[in-house]
Amino acid sequence: MKPINFVVLVLFICGVVWALTLSERTVRRIQQTYYATIGPFLKGGSAMETRARDFLEEIEHSKDLENRLRAIEEEYIKLRSIEGRLRELESENAVLRRALDFKEKMRLNVVAARVIKRQPATWWETAIIDKGQNDSIGAGVPIIAPGGLAGKVDIASADTCSMILLTDERCQVSVQVAGTPEVGILHGMRGRYGEEPRLILRHLSREAAILPGMKVITTGKGGLFPSNLLIGTVREYTPGPVEGVALVQPSVNFDELGVVFVIAQKSEPEG
């Protein structure tokens, strides 16, 4: 081995030991700096991505019209194109109205944010949103979406936040099966790809009277999430020798996570 390579090897080993023994606080600070650095790229890239998608959609739409209305007059083509664009705006408007209505119905102080990057990691179910500490968002605060609980903030930098989705194994929530006294801890499932996301609800009674279709809501216990937030619907319940386990279908569509609401400040006491 060349002497220089030996020196680098020693430095490398020292570096690995240093990295592996960093305190969690220091690691979070490093990650915060990392997200603060890539934040502008993410925001800029996301805006470009949206513009490109709009452009491609427009092209696709125009081509579709061209094929279908080849024999019709040019003026008619233009009108259909305008109609298509109006429908697109109408649909967008309906989505935003639903989101606004959802926000108004919430009795919580929430900050609306846009998901600018979905699942950047290989194994971890995460997303990045376009609001951060500048909007009074800190680590650990819950994030909701039209449909129910979506996850919580992991790392908050000035302009962006990394959120752990409810479908990740590390996002644990204290929940109750609505209409029953059954409470348990719910989290995502690992290793399921190419299938619909499922959540697993543990620590239920051995012979709980739980039926498929029952709603699952947050208990508010433990100080992390507000109470009565919808999580999903029970798909399957399996009694066990020690505890019962239920599979839950999330009420939030994680494939189409566009606008989310971060609970900036809780306005009701938690259990």
Partner: protein, 199 residues
Amino acid sequence: MGYYHLSLFFLIVTACIFQQFVPSLSSLYDAKILLVPLVFLCAVVTVDTGPMLILGFVAGFLWDAQHVITPLPAELSGNPEVYGDPGGDVRFGYSIILYALMGLFMQGLQPLFREGKWHVSAILAGIAIFLYLSAEYLCLTFVRGDLIISRGLFLKISFTALLTMLLCPLIFWILYRLAALFHYTITYEGLAPDREAAN
């Protein structure tokens, strides 16, 4: 260490930024192109062991800064009576070791690459990505418990390795351009006559 090595460092940082915009393909079991490991794997066959370790440290460090979920501070982790076991996760820095191991694996066939047989290294990069993802998943399984292996998981790893491998020629082309720009010698043409002479 010269400008070429410095350019590799910038290439990895650039890959880190571009990685943010690579989407997961839901039709292929959430497979995606892993740019950072790809750039690292292609770059390490063009350099010596020392620079490989430095690149491995940088790439692994950035990778973990992006991916590893660090436990929240105790005051934000909820009541321990309710959330008794928050579950473990891999430690920050584990990727540095995995990157270095991948680098050593790639450098095993470095002489072939230096003879101009880059396609062997490209195939090896695909294998290295497959092994890397498998090792990463096993690390997660080891700390979290419950070994869960499914067909979807196997296909996700396989498609990710395959998609990433397909981009190898492009990365090698960039590396050759950078080498030419900074007058760095990747291919040792002198090896061929030496071998002929030996025969």
